[in-house]
């Protein structure tokens, strides 16, 4: 099991000044899949107690970036340090052992296995010794149920196959699992993409709670509203390259949204949308506006409505 020592001083005798080494730092990282250059020259920092958001369109390389952090693929070029120490992971296990827990977009669950077996997969607690060493089934069931309750997921039965849960519930199981195993760094690939308003809010609140507990969080999303609500740093990706990197105090939500959509393209889009609205042929989702439209367009790329996730009704 991974132990929590997220707030430990870095082991390396680095500069013991006012700014400690970031938990995770990427500098100029590149990655190609054969001749597809999925990522080039991307840098990012993750600090304890902060949320670093990675924003970008579909295919921008967000998932590739976190697969490098998670140890699923090694990077081709650039530097990757954890608490100041150069690393190069050859398996996800190594990253896990260094305290980096990842929740993948294509959720890493085994659909036919019960929820509690999925929850502990790869880190199963055991009791007894030698040939009698066995899974601590009672504890596994109870822990799973409680960890999910804490996320606001009240599961009928932890014995049901995880494939029978809703997408949001599965996402929450995966996040609860990562948090439960005491990660130092939590990496989330579009955790709110498939969720309804209430569940999105709950996930974001849970992400914020992880931050407050001293974890460093990498949150990947293409929803600037969600990112701006919780993020401390923003890294924008565009077609594999970094198109911007900001601290929260240096940018507004409008600025972030604009930059994400790419300034001039956005103006064009605004223009087009306003014209189509006049003719009444299209009910456009005004992505430019902070205010949510009355009815979301059927073809809107983002399934999650921009509601305020800090819904006072859902108290964790």
């Amino acid at each position: 099991m991974i132990t929590v020592d997220g707030n430990d001083a870095s082991g390396t005798p680095g500069p013991s000044g006012d700014t400690p080494d970031p938990l995770v730092a990427l500098t100029g990282v590149s990655k190609s899949y054969g001749n597809v250059r999925a990522l080039r020259d991307v840098s990012l920092e993750v600090h304890a107690g902060e949320i670093t958001c990675v924003l970008g369109d579909n295919g921008a390389g967000k998932s590739t970036l976190i697969k490098i952090i998670a140890g699923l693929h090694p990077h081709d070029a650039g530097g990757y340090t954890i608490e100041g120490e150069q690393v190069r992971h050859s398996s996800p296990r190594q990253a896990l052992d260094r305290g980096i827990a990842t929740v993948y977009q294509d959720l890493a669950v085994v659909p036919l296995m019960p929820v509690w077996r999925n929850f502990f997969l790869g880190s199963e607690p055991t009791r007894g010794r030698g040939p009698l060493r066995r899974l601590d089934v009672a504890q596994m069931r109870a822990t799973t149920h409680q960890a999910l309750l804490r996320m606001g997921i009240d599961l009928r039965d932890v014995d049901q196959a995880i494939g029978t849960l809703s997408g949001g519930e599965r996402q929450c199981v995966a996040i609860a699992r990562a948090v439960h195993f005491g990660a130092k760094v939590l990496v989330l690939d579009e955790p709110t993409a498939a969720l309804g308003v209430k569940q999105s809010g709950m996930v974001l609140k849970y992400v914020a709670a992880a931050r407050d507990a001293g974890l460093g969080v990498v949150l990947i999303t293409h929803n600037p509203h969600h990112a701006y609500l919780v993020g401390d740093r923003f890294v924008l990706l565009k077609r594999g390259a970094m198109s911007g990197s900001h601290l929260k105090e240096d940018i507004t939500l409008d600025g972030l949204t604009r930059e994400m959509a790419g300034g001039s393209e956005l103006d064009e889009l605004t223009h087009e949308l306003s014209r189509s609205r006049k003719t009444g042929t299209m009910d456009g989702d005004a992505a430019t506006s902070d205010a949510a439209p009355a009815t979301p367009a059927p073809a809107a790329p983002e399934p999650t409505p921009h509601a305020d996730p800090a819904d006072p009704e859902t108290t964790a």
Partner: protein, 347 residues
């Protein structure tokens, strides 16, 4: 309301999941129903089927398939096949016999050498699979063909005939036979030691599958290998281990073959791999992996034993056996497909 308050109060939505539904969720359910039907059927059509002595024969036939069906089922849950399992049994017997005979060694030495060689064959299958990432169907088909050729070729080269020489007068033979091929009589029932091996293997495999980390990894490796790898499950090691478990049981079966018949025919074993797979599938294993049980494979093997001997007791043409086996397989697969659809219903 705080979410934690709910813990003590229980959950009203739990009620609909009744005992019946829980039973329906068990992989071996279909096999148990099938076994009961087959048992009733032969009890009616074959008078001698219900005699205690017949049960001894049926159990023996079941155990010879069942010993191999257990690891083949685990392997299938882990998402892979082994087409070389049938001839590997013969290889294991041949190595043991020929080593003892040629070296005029104690038969225990031959048994030990055979264990090492057979485990190496299993490791070869597993390592080839995880290294090349080719489908196990192709890799073990290759091993199957190579072993079939080696069994015949080497036996002819060394013994001069297609069968091995008798080793019954060699040192160690009686004790080896006690372990692998003894039988004893309880009342009028003749019970073979293979039945104990079989039941022992079922118990151990069930324990491993349901109550150990390795068991969790087997289900995960077959259910979603990428997801398993991502959360740190050693998928490659699990699969190599499964192939070595098949090899270990092939060694037990091979030693039984040798010490109960004394000589080994080098062409034997071809086709048996399908019987093991059929027993596992009838027992509820999904061909696609991730689902199944060791107990199910035992029930599948028992259905095989009842059918193969029941047809003899009913004095029918044994050709019907093949038809029967085919029909059972189709029924079982249909049932399994339905189960899977339910399990993944809202995916």
């Amino acid at each position: 309301m705080s979410a934690l308050d709910v813990i003590g109060t229980g959950d009203e939505r739990l009620a609909p999941r009744s005992v019946a539904r829980r039973l329906l969720g068990r992989p071996e359910l279909g096999a148990v129903v099938g076994a009961a039907a087959v048992f009733l059927f032969f009890s009616v059509v074959a008078d001698s089927f219900l005699r205690a002595s017949s049960m001894g024969t049926v159990l023996y036939a079941s155990s010879t398939i069942g010993i191999m069906a257990v690891p083949v089922a685990l392997l299938m849950i882990g998402g892979e096949f082994d087409l070389s399992a049938g001839v590997m049994v013969t290889s294991s017997a041949l190595v043991s016999s020929m080593f003892s005979f040629q070296m005029t060694a104690n038969t225990w030495v031959g048994v030990g050498v055979s264990l090492l060689v057979t485990l190496a064959l299993g490791a070869f299958n597993g390592i080839m699979l995880v290294r090349t990432k080719l489908p196990s169907f192709i890799i073990t088909l290759g091993t199957f063909l190579m072993l079939t050729g080696l069994n015949l070729g080497l036996t002819k080269l060394i013994s001069g005939t297609v069968a091995t020489k008798s080793i019954s007068d060699m040192q160690g033979f009686p004790t080896c036979r006690d372990l692998f091929a003894s039988h004893w009589t309880v009342g009028s029932v003749d019970l073979q030691v293979t039945i104990l091996w079989w039941l022992g293997l079922v118990v151990v495999a069930t324990w491993v599958l349901l109550r150990t980390r390795a068991g969790n990894w087997i289900f995960a490796a077959g259910g979603n290998a990428d997801a398993a790898r991502a959360v740190g499950v050693p998928v490659a090691r699990t699969k190599v281990g499964l192939y070595m478990a098949v090899a270990f049981c092939a060694w037990i079966s091979g030693q039984h073959l040798l010490f109960s018949f004394d000589v080994v025919q080098s062409g034997e074993g071809v086709g048996n791999e399908f019987l093991y797979i059929i027993a596992a599938v009838i027992g509820g294993c999904l061909m696609t992996g991730g689902y199944g049980s060791a107990i199910g494979s035992a029930v599948g093997a028992f259905i095989f034993g009842m059918a193969s001997k029941g047809i003899v007791y009913a004095q029918w043409n044994p050709d019907w056996f093949q038809f029967f086996l085919g029909a059972m397989l189709l029924l079982a697969t249909l049932l399994n497909a339905w189960v899977r659809k339910r399990a993944e219903a809202s995916k």
